[in-house]
Amino acid sequence: MKGMTVIVKSISRWVKMLIFLFGIYVTLFGHLTPGGGFAGGVILAGSYILLMLAFGREYAEDNLSLVVTSKLDCVGALLFVAIALSGLLYGSAAFFYNFLHQEIQAEKVKALDLVSAGAIPLSNIAICLKVGASLFMVVLILSVFRCDFSAGEREVS
């Protein structure tokens, strides 16, 4: 039986969804409340790291494999650059111009709404994808490395 004891497994089975939801909340409300893409991404990665610690590496890798993680990482980076470049294409040609803000203002969106602040929530989502995928990938890679290292030593001796 891989992973930790039954107590840890059943508690983390309950808690993982709450942590994941909290990460999404911190990311989406990053322009209104303290938080943002970096913090939300770390919390999302934390839920998967909890899964990996409690149920073993194979279970976590079935849920979110290394290939998918690296693709999510690249998608986050591309999305952030795309937001920056679309600021260059629309509006006054400036890198990282907040191109959605004026259109939202024309539709009379109140401040403190969820859909406000133009491109800032989109950037938060892109950074969240990027940071969460990167952190989970580092932990996954380190655990893969440790397993292979011990296996290699046994083969040598």
């Binding site: 322009h31 943002g36 952030f80 650059v81 401040a111 602040a117 950074i127 990027k130 990938m137």
Partner: protein, 187 residues
């Protein structure tokens, strides 16, 4: 001021060209260190001592790690006497860095002044007051921190995410699985 920056630009360009084109790995690493050193000197002249300190710490640590990585297959001891010229040059550079750092520290606000009001400046013209007053009306974000890092200083955030991406890429490349004997590498 312009000629100082021109000098540093040419210095950085020459160091970068040597770093790319040289055959010796160790001298390439040292040239990369020279690029970071020139950059931190430029930050000192621009009166940004915090960024200069960060830059020089990162460069020194990176240089030590990279030199250790490159000479691990080579000789790891130093033979011969210490060179007089090397000691003089390093002492001169140390004095120059310390002097410039002390000069740049004079530009910082005094200890105890409120963080968002710089000493001796008119409040309307400094950037931090503008961030506080106009973040909601200009970007629509209620969280002023989000407005700064994703709107006014988003270029900085792009650099940070690039650093994260590159470091993860390096970790994945260095830690990936190696198969036995053949030397072939799989993901």
């Amino acid at each position: 001021m312009f000629y100082i920056f021109l000098f540093f630009m040419i210095f950085l360009l020459i160091a970068a060209l040597i770093a790319v084109h040289t055959d010796n790995l160790l001298s390439s690493v040292i040239c990369v260190g020279a690029i970071g050193f020139g950059g931190s000197l430029m930050f000192l002249f621009l009166r940004a001592p915090d960024i200069a300190i960060t830059q020089i710490v990162v460069e020194v640590l990176g240089l030590i790690i990279l030199i250790r990585a490159t000479i691990s297959s080579d000789k790891t001891f130093i033979s011969g006497q210490r060179e007089f010229f090397g000691i003089v040059v390093s002492l001169a550079l140390l004095l120059a860095i310390s002097g410039l750092g002390l000069k740049a520290l004079d530009g910082l606000p005094n200890f105890g002044t409120p963080a968002f009001v710089a000493a001796g400046e008119i409040e309307e013209t400094i950037a931090s007051q503008e961030y506080i007053e106009q973040s909601l009306s200009k970007t629509g974000a209620a969280n002023a921190v989000a407005a700064v890092i994703l709107d006014w200083r988003a270029y900085d955030t792009l650099g940070e995410t690039t650093v994260l991406f590159t470091s993860i890429l390096g970790a994945v490349v260095m830690l990936r699985k190696k198969t036995k004997n053949t030397g072939a590498i799989e993901a």
